[in-house]
């Protein structure tokens, strides 16, 4: 690449120096990209070799021929010579159900409560608002044991309800919807009222269609949030049939000895990354909007 500001006749240290300065940002960015891509590349390659090759520690840097075998086995089989596993097909379904319930549940209850707080005036309005706000400061990590006990008392251990409902209260989603509702012009509400629309009709016919972009953006980040849960599923699921895929991987690894079914573990890891990474890449615009807006 020639530098447009210096002509072809100028030579010497000046040109070389300029060229280096122009290239430096690219070099740094490429190194950055490589640092993030390298572990994924290794995992992808590993998932195409057999366990013995990986276990010996001489994983080649080019794909092997075991891909179909590994992915097929991880997807549907429940054991190898070494250990018992939950098939990825089951773990994947559990993760999908959990992530979808959390995302849909959070959006549904948040949009309703934001509607109440923004469009109605009623006693204790601010008390409820602050009660929802406080949940921001109480992530599941700081109330592990008592929350577990509540879920156990309600008989929700090893159920999809137990996996998702305790996580669906959302201050950030409520705040985001409320903020958006406050920007809706009074004239629009006035006109709807004159046309005889009650609060329910207004919500479904006007507010919900207007919120489409916000809902899509939130859905993307909440789906990822749900998919990536770790501590909570670790606590409330005991049976192998209820295992989520993120938990499943670390259970397969155990203590991390060389004699592991690394080929299956790596195939499972690739499958576990696929849905959330696909969501981020294909819905990039909405994803960034959802993330930046909900943290404002």
């Amino acid at each position: 690449m020639s530098n447009p500001t210096t002509g072809p006749h100028t030579t010497g240290p000046h040109t070389a120096g300029r060229r280096l300065i122009d290239l430096l940002p690219h070099i740094v960015l490429i190194v950055g990209v490589l640092i993030f891509a390298f572990p994924i590349y290794v995992t992808l390659i590993g998932s195409t070799w057999d366990a013995a090759t990986i276990g010996r520690g001489n994983l080649p840097m080019i794909p092997g021929g075991e891909a179909l075998n590994n992915y097929g086995h991880a997807w549907s089989e429940s054991h190898t010579e070494r250990a018992m596993y939950t098939p990825v097909r089951i773990m994947m379904m559990n993760s999908v159900i959990m992530a979808l319930s959390i995302a849909v549940g959070k959006i549904a209850i948040s949009i309703l409560s934001a509607y109440a707080v923004a469009f109605f005036r009623f006693p204790l309005r601010m008390v409820f608002f602050w009660m929802i706000f406080i949940t921001l400061m109480l992530p599941v990590e700081v109330r592990i044991i008592p929350t577990y006990k509540v879920v156990a008392d309600l008989g929700m251990i090893d159920t999809y309800a137990g996996l998702s409902i305790p996580l669906i209260a959302s201050a950030t989603a409520t705040l985001l919807f409320r903020q958006f509702f406050l920007t809706i012009p009074d004239e629009l509400v006035e006109a709807a009222k004159i046309d005889g629309a009650g609060p329910v009709r207004f919500f479904f016919d006007i507010l919900l269609p207007l919120s489409k972009t916000n809902i899509a953006a939130l859905f993307v980040i909440l789906f990822i949030y749900g998919w990536n849960q770790y501590l909570w599923p670790l606590l409330v699921t005991n049976s192998a049939d209820m295992e989520t895929i993120v938990i499943g991987i670390t259970k397969m690894i155990g203590t991390g000895e060389a004699a592991n079914d690394w080929n299956l573990i790596m195939a499972t890891t690739v499958l576990a990354m696929l849905p959330p990474v696909a969501v981020v890449i294909f819905m990039q615009r909405w994803f960034i909007k959802g993330l930046v807006d909900s943290e404002k």
Binding site: P25, H26, V28, G32, V33, F36, A37, P39, V42, T43, I54, G55, G57, A108, S110, S113, A116, A118, F119, F120, F122, R125, M131, I132, P139, E141, V142, R143, I144, I145, P146, T147, V150, A169, L182, I184, V189, K193, P199, Y230, L231, V246, I247, I249, T250, I253, A258, W262, I265, M266, P276, V277, V280, I281, F287, I288, L291, V292, E295, K296
Partner: protein
Amino acid sequence: MQRRVIFDNKLLPYLLLAPQVAVTLVFFIWPAAQAIWQSVHIQDAFGLRSEFVWFENFTAIFTDPNYVGTLRTTAIFSVSVTALSLSVSLLLASLADSKIKGAAVYKTLLIWPYALAPAVAAVLWMFIFNPEIGSLGRLLNGWGYNWDYRLNGDQALTMVILAASWKQVSYNFIFFLAGLQAIPRSVLEAASIDGAGPVRRFWSITFPLLSPTTFFLLVVDMVYAFCETFGTIHALTHGGPGKATETLIFRVYQDGVVNNDLGGSSAQSVLLMVILIVLTTIQFRFVERKVHYS
């Protein structure tokens, strides 16, 4: 705080709020209150009776030399993760924001790690740095450096710090990009005409103007390091070797779930709650001020 035009209905707002409030009360407020109650009580071995003990659980924590070690580990861990992920993402974001070829491609290639679970990030790092199967882990040993994070506490702590920071860079990157795009180009161009080089422009204009974003991320990253990295540590080292990578949150889990010490675990939960409430309050006061003056 509220719209001018509103609907009149006595019952409907309560019905709309009911699901959210129910979940909040049953799974947030009540358990948090339980944690506070348990933190000032000691249960007998059968869990039948409990006795009010004032702050005995708390003094027990702070006089436990192990806990002081956990505090130290948490401090090193969270400060390192925050500093590392903030500085790397700021560097990458300010380069990707400049007018260079392929900026859009770089952006896409740098934001996708947001999608990874902290535990999955840890597993990916293990595939590379495991001393037996990992290419870089074996390379280190081949060079005569005695690398095994499963036995060496300092190496284990380094591993979890790197894996946790690696995962958080993309999040910070997205927010730094948004912050950089909000800086008026005219200011930077004026400085450029006045002869300020890129480095000078960055430190005297971009960096100060980015400070609200940086501050916001500072708090978010601290909360991340305190709570969400449980998965990273659980997947990679299980708090070990010994207690070398045991952070506050890991210890709450260890004492409460594994060792079944309700009082001690709850007292630690309450301490964590206080830390989080302080961090969140600082964050919101700051955000409010920013909104007010802008």
